[in-house]
């Protein structure tokens, strides 16, 4: 088993899970000692092919159970764990984002409510409805930006730690941070401007009259 003629060289391929680096490997044909036979069968009507193989097997080695598996399924299983993790992570991420958005909405509504009286006064002093919306939105987005800046290094660190598990991994570029910042700002602006518009359209007569 230690010597033999080299009959071919193949390109590197992942014969181990992607966690591990591709290490040197030798593939040899040693008929005296084999454990697996790989058979390519036609995808159409493979139950007949299976029956044929089963019959041949039992004829050749009676008493040995006919065990088989499909290569694509085997391959799938290798990454089943990762796929599951990926799915769970996606669901949890969406939940987290949704809850954060709810929080943002509530915060925007609360702040708009708190400052209703102030906005009424500003309207009396000559502020336009647009000016009020701008004022509330500007101050709120400042906070969202700050939150982003705090979140970036934390997210970067966490993602890096996870990717260390893999010998072959993607690079975390700046694009993804920019995208999430833009998304967060968009949600913030939408929620705040909606609340701000409600406040800006309120008549100061109603908001200021009864103290």
């Amino acid at each position: 088993m230690n010597k033999g003629p080299v009959i071919g060289v193949v390109k590197d391929f992942h014969f181990r899970p992607l966690h591990q680096k591709i290490e040197p490997a030798a593939l040899y044909i040693y008929p005296k000692l084999f454990q697996y036979i790989s058979v390519r069968i036609s995808p159409t009507d493979f139950s007949r092919s299976l029956d044929f193989l089963k019959a041949k097997w039992q004829a050749l080695v009676p008493g040995q159970t006919f065990q088989y598996s499909f290569l694509d399924e085997d391959f799938d299983n290798l990454y089943k764990a990762e796929m599951r993790l990926g799915k769970i992570f996606t669901v949890v991420t969406f939940l987290a984002i949704f809850i954060a958005c709810l929080g943002l909405f509530g915060l925007a509504a609360f702040e708009a409510l708190q400052r209703t009286k102030e906005m009424g006064i500003r309207k009396v002093l000559g502020a336009s409805a647009a000016g009020i919306v701008l004022l509330l939105s500007k101050e709120f987005t400042k906070w969202v930006l700050l939150a982003n800046i705090i979140a970036w290094p934390v997210a970067y660190y966490a993602m890096n730690r996870w990717l260390q598990n893999f010998a072959y991994r993607i690079n975390i570029g700046p694009l993804i941070f920019i995208q999430s910042a833009v998304l967060a700002l968009l949600v913030a602006l939408l929620t705040v401007s909606y609340q701000a518009m409600k406040v800006s359209l309120a008549n100061p007569v109603d908001t200021l009259r009864y103290e």
């Binding site: 009396v124 002093l125 000559g126 502020a127 000016g131």
Partner: protein, 221 residues
């Protein structure tokens, strides 16, 4: 200067109309000092808010310097009252998050007054009302009387031709109230038209004309 013709204001809840003002006719000339009096619920504040263009009448006509206020858009109304009318409320209504200086500055910001001019006007007000020492304090650090002085200064800083005051001394003690009324008297002597709503006979005595409201009607002058 001000002319109200057959002004009526009602609120509808379902099928019921509650009248706040009924068929009000009255005029005010420039430079007058007028008091509107009446029991609670007579419609005094409603009238004041309509005069201040913060609220619209249900029917009737309002002429401000012969301009038809009742047909103006919200934007035009804001322009008009921002430039010509100063409002003083019973509860001062200063912005709590801003200092005295910033409170005084705010109406100038909305009038798009330039920086150096703003500084000058605010300094002038602080001086005239003798509140220079308080310029960096917040409203909740001031007494009621001081807050109302700031509110009056704020109403006056844009040099409006008309000041509307809703129970300006309602939350003040006698001495503080006197100070404010003296301020109004002084402003009136310099040509500002003043309309105040009040319960106090004493306050009314500073003015030269009294209009009484009862249940939304003008009862006597």
């Amino acid at each position: 200067m001000i002319r109200l013709v057959d002004i009526t204001k009602y609120y509808s809840t379902g099928y019921v109309k509650t009248f706040a003002l009924r068929n009000i006719d009255f005029e005010v000339e420039e430079g007058e000092f007028v008091t509107i009096m009446g029991p609670s619920g007579a419609g005094k504040s409603t009238l004041l808010y309509i005069l201040g263009m913060l609220d619209a009448p249900s029917s009737g006509e309002y002429y401000f310097y012969d301009k038809k206020v009742h047909i103006l858009t919200e934007k035009q109304l804001t322009e008009l009252h921002k430039n010509h009318i100063g409002f003083v409320f019973q509860s001062y209504h200063l912005i709590d998050d801003l200092t005295v200086y910033e409170n005084l500055e705010t109406p100038l910001l909305y009038k798009k007054v330039k920086g150096s001019e703003r500084k000058g006007k605010v300094a002038d007000m602080l001086d005239r009302f003798r509140i220079v020492a308080k310029k960096d304090l917040f409203p909740n650090q001031l007494s009621g009387g001081q807050q109302q002085k700031v509110a009056v200064a704020r109403a006056v800083i844009t040099e409006p031709r008309l000041i509307l005051a809703d129970e300006p001394t309602g939350n003040l003690n006698t001495k503080e109230g006197e100070e404010i009324m003296e301020l109004f008297k002084e402003l009136n002597e310099h040509g500002t038209t003043i309309l105040q709503v009040t319960h106090s006979e004493k306050n009314a005595s500073y003015s030269r004309r009294i209009i009484n409201l009862l249940d939304g009607w003008v009862v006597d002058e």
